[in-house]
């Protein structure tokens, strides 16, 4: 008695402490909510190494939105957007600026002997060829590069160099100050918008996205133009909206389904309130644990966390079904028939989730922490609080529930007679399915994209119009700008040596390394000394002595008229051990060959910036790890069940547990064209749940009470996980489908595997 009072006090004390901690974390903790799927997916070691460079290079771009407008009234629509976008808070116009050619020519003039195009380099020892190159330029009708540079750089090497360098970057053209691109004869005017608020919260994203979409629709309707847009903001807003809808819809549906089950099984209010109390405390424990261990809470975690209802309610059902056996609990807690199976069940489920805590997927770590702490809160509440509720030990199952359970026991008792046949059928089905439809995984992270189709299509249209749809990006980083520029040149030389058809877009031409500038200067000076430029200079009759080498540095460049282009291609950041510099290159017209990819992969200064394939690779590696983990889990299950229940019962229990897991996986593949890592993770959970069912049957035998408790648990879990199948997020729906199939399978297989059958249990109790 004294022990129980001590336990009661302890329970209330810890509950108070947990809620105080929760309140503190909620109101004073540094936490935020996220909805970007990529932020919770794994990253490869190389990507982690380059994450600071990526952040520095692409952070501001990730806050940019692009709007493309086409049609007869495109200019009017463009102007209307420019005017009205200021009404949308936290968004401003970021116009694309066209640099002045006069300024550019003037800027490069002091460095004019440092720049040679490949054509000039090729013919430096051939006076006639050099003269032809210059003549071709000079006879062109109105070449602004020649006009701007001929007086100061009469070799015309600078004119050709600037023309080549600038045309290489010029996918975008300008008309009356408005940037545009032509796509199959259609002109699309480009507006660039910048989200000005750093670190947008999700509600603000949804708000901005809604206002902008309304503005876009108004412009479309008024001006009758085609308007397409892209930007991460829109995806964030859509994911947020979708996750919120699912959390509320699925949460309510799950709760209603579970409460209906309780009502149908017990026909009184106390079980309902008990369940709501346990569920509330469990959810609070899970949520507080997330706040304690993570700085951000992903909305998808909450979608997955709805499954807590399905598992926690198992504890409630067991407590409710066995409520009348807890009459003497206050005298002797150890006599509680639920303590052992519930604690065992918690330990096995918690172990299942604990494995996920160390997952490289933050999402899974969050879900696992939420579930472990939620289940712990539920367990101690069921064991310590529910028996104290007035009238709890008088709760009895309804007559219809008992009748249903009796029927179930009868059916399964009969089925047990055919257990050999059923098990043979299970093994045969699994083998057949494995042969006919071998399990295949697709780790492509794009298959997990939950953005709506219309938004993805717009994104693709914009990418195609701006010519980066199939481009690849390389990031180059180094300790100094010059080292970075030199590595960048080595990379380009190497890539083009193997694949001359690749188009390289970057800052490399406008800002070559000092080393390369010096090489070009020396070559030009040598050719000049040898008199190879005499014919060229004779064309204009102008003189241009080659001066001592003066390099164009990164710092000079940032002071020049092309500084904006420089800043969009080069960034620097503090690594803690000093500054580091990074630049990026856009490669298009052909994908990088395997040879080039291999060479790049071996270069520690270079990384292929392809988030999708990088995450997919990491998911693939993680999936391999999970497969090994599953194999180990199967072994552990077999050993435990054999050790605990002997050879025959242990074997039957193991077959039921592992069989239901494998059946869930193979059947999931029949329902969806491919399996992903979330199907596999669901299998881990199935094992954790299945072993609970098996243990309950092995401990209590196939009897009416056990069958009723497990039926209610299975039904509620199947309903909760089954609802997830309807999620628009493929990760959630895959997970829900596999767990639901697994629960149905173990519900059928677990009683067949039991060694004890007691038809008179309900009557005797």
């Amino acid at each position: 008695m004294r022990d129980f009072n001590k336990l009661k006090k302890l329970y209330w004390l810890q509950l108070l402490a947990v809620f105080l901690l929760g309140g503190y974390l909620l109101f004073f903790g540094q936490w935020r909510i996220e909805s970007n799927l990529l932020s919770i997916l794994p990253h490869s070691a190389q990507q982690q190494d380059f994450s600071a460079a990526e952040q520095a290079l692409f952070k501001s771009k990730s806050q940019q939105l692009l709007v493309l407008i086409a049609g007869d009234n495109a200019l009017k629509a463009h102007d209307a957007l420019a005017m009205k976008v200021h009404d949308v808070a936290n968004v401003s116009l970021a116009p694309l600026i066209e640099p002045s050619l006069t300024d550019i020519a003037e800027f490069y003039r002091p460095f004019r002997h440092n720049f040679l195009t490949s054509s000039y380099l090729e013919h430096l020892d051939n006076s006639q060829a050099l003269a032809q190159l210059a003549t071709k330029q000079i006879i062109q009708v109105a070449n602004p590069f020649v006009s701007e540079t001929i007086a100061t750089a009469p070799r015309l090497n600078l004119a050709e160099y600037l023309q080549v360098a600038l045309s290489n970057l010029a996918d975008v053209e300008f008309d009356q100050g408005v940037a545009f691109v032509n796509v199959q004869g259609q002109r699309y005017l480009i507006s660039r918008l910048q989200v000005t608020l750093d670190g947008l919260d999700l509600n603000t994203s949804v708000d901005i996205s809604a206002k902008l979409q309304q503005l876009f629709n108004d412009i479309r309707n008024v001006e009758k133009v085609e308007l397409i847009y892209s930007g991460i903001l829109f995806h964030t807003a859509e994911s947020t909206r979708q996750a919120k809808t699912e959390i509320s819809t699925f949460g309510v549906l799950s709760l209603v389904a579970v409460l209906l089950l309780i009502w149908s099984a017990f026909r009184s209010m106390l079980p309902l309130w008990s369940a709501v109390l346990v569920l509330s405390i469990a959810s609070a424990y899970g949520f507080i644990a997330i706040l304690l261990f993570f700085q951000s809470l992903h909305l998808l975690t909450l979608v997955f966390a709805i499954t807590l209802i399905g598992v926690v309610i198992d504890y409630c059902f067991h407590a409710l079904v066995y409520a009348d056996r807890q009459k003497n609990l206050q005298q002797d807690q150890k006599s509680n028939p639920l303590t052992k199976p519930l604690v065992l069940g918690f330990i096995t489920t918690a172990i299942g989730y604990f494995i996920l805590v160390f997952s490289p997927l933050t999402l899974l770590s969050q879900v696992a922490v939420f579930m472990i702490f939620g289940l712990f809160g539920a367990l101690i509440t069921v064991l310590a609080l529910l028996p104290q509720l007035k009238g709890f030990n008088k709760i009895t199952s309804s007559a219809s529930a008992v009748a249903f359970s009796q029927q179930g026991v009868n059916v399964f008792s009969n089925l047990v007679r055919y257990k050999k046949m059923i098990i043979s059928l299970l093994v045969f089905s699994l083998v057949s399915l494995a042969v006919l439809a071998p399990i295949k995984f697709d780790d492509d992270v794009r298959l997990l994209n939950s953005s709506p189709k219309w938004l993805i299509e717009q994104e693709i249209s914009v990418a195609k119009a701006l010519n980066y749809h199939h481009s690849q990006r390389l990031i180059i980083k180094a300790k100094t700008t010059q080292e970075m520029l030199e590595i960048q040149e080595q990379v380009i030389d190497r890539v083009l040596a193997n694949q001359a058809n690749i188009r390289v877009k970057g800052i490399n031409k406008l800002l070559p390394s000092i080393k390369r500038q010096q090489q070009h200067h020396a070559l030009l000076a040598k050719a000049d000394e040898q008199g190879h430029f005499q014919a060229v200079l004779a064309l204009s009759g102008l003189d241009d002595p080659v001066n001592a080498f003066k390099p164009l540095t990164f710092q000079d460049f940032l002071q020049g008229p092309l500084a904006a282009i420089g800043e969009s291609y080069i960034a620097y950041y503090d690594t803690g051990n000093g500054l580091e510099y990074a630049s990026w290159l856009e490669l298009s017209q052909a994908p990088l060959s395997a040879e080039n990819l291999l060479w790049l992969a071996e270069n520690p200064h270079v990384s292929l910036y392809d988030t999708a394939s990088d995450v997919s690779d990491a998911l693939g590696q993680y999936r391999q790890g999970i497969l090994w983990l599953l194999a180990s889990a199967f072994m552990v299950v077999v050993v435990i069940l054999f050790a605990k229940y002997g050879l025959k019962a242990g074997a039957l229990s193991a077959i039921a547990t592992i069989g239901s897991a494998l059946l869930a996986l193979t059947l999931s593949q029949l329902f969806s064209s491919h399996l992903n890592i979330f199907n596999l993770l669901a299998v881990l959970l199935i094992i954790a749940l299945a072993i609970d069912y098996v243990i309950f049957y092995q401990e209590h035998g196939l009897q009416v009470k056990t069958f009723l408790a497990i039926s209610l648990s299975a039904l509620s879990s199947a309903a909760v996980f089954g609802i997830l199948v309807f999620s628009a997020t493929p990760a959630v729906s895959s997970f829900g489908l596999t767990v639901m199939i697994g629960i149905v399978s173990i519900f059928i297989l677990a009683p067949i595997a039991t060694k004890n059958i007691n038809l008179n249990d309900m009557r005797s109790s």
């Binding site: 071709k136 330029q137 062109q140 109105a142 070449n143 204009s540």
Partner: protein, 210 residues
Amino acid sequence: MTLFERSNVIAMLLLMLVICFSAGAENYPDEPLNQPTLSTMPIASGSFVQRKYFKVLKHPIKSQGELYFDVSIGLLWQTEQPIYSALLLKKSGLFTENGTGDSQELKGASAISQVLLNIMSGDSEQLAKNFTINASTIDHCLSLTPKLTQLAKIIDNVQLCHINTPEKNQQNLNDINHIVLHEHSGNRTEITLQLTPMTMLPEAVRARLQ
């Protein structure tokens, strides 16, 4: 092979614009008699002599060659002297061609191509949109000021003139045969044309423009 400047393309296009300017002739019925007239000439071939005057040079730089155009397929501007070079405006874009026939696309001039196509197809509305057209102070000349920023950045003004030559390039004495492109830098390009209308371009030229 050396790349051709986009500006050259622009200038060629301007030239084409001038050649095909006739499409808008009906829009200026009240022009004084001493101004050149524009007549429709959708397909033609001819020769050109170009003189470039740079402020820093004492003498102009002269070049000459042939040209072919068909508004439905494009333009071939081929310099023969002092060196060979060719510019092709096709439906698919703008290309330079070297002596061995290898061509290279010049990206970024598509807007001008589109403007030109509008002009060539006789879209007078587009023509008026792209240029402000005035009577020139010089006899037998029109003055065109580009509205299009891309053109306006390079060209300050275009003069379209008729100069009497011993060989008349067309039936109509007032047709344009001399173009002066004035750049902002003070440099200018003078082009003298001799054009002959055709019903169809030679097959070899058509093949290059396809």
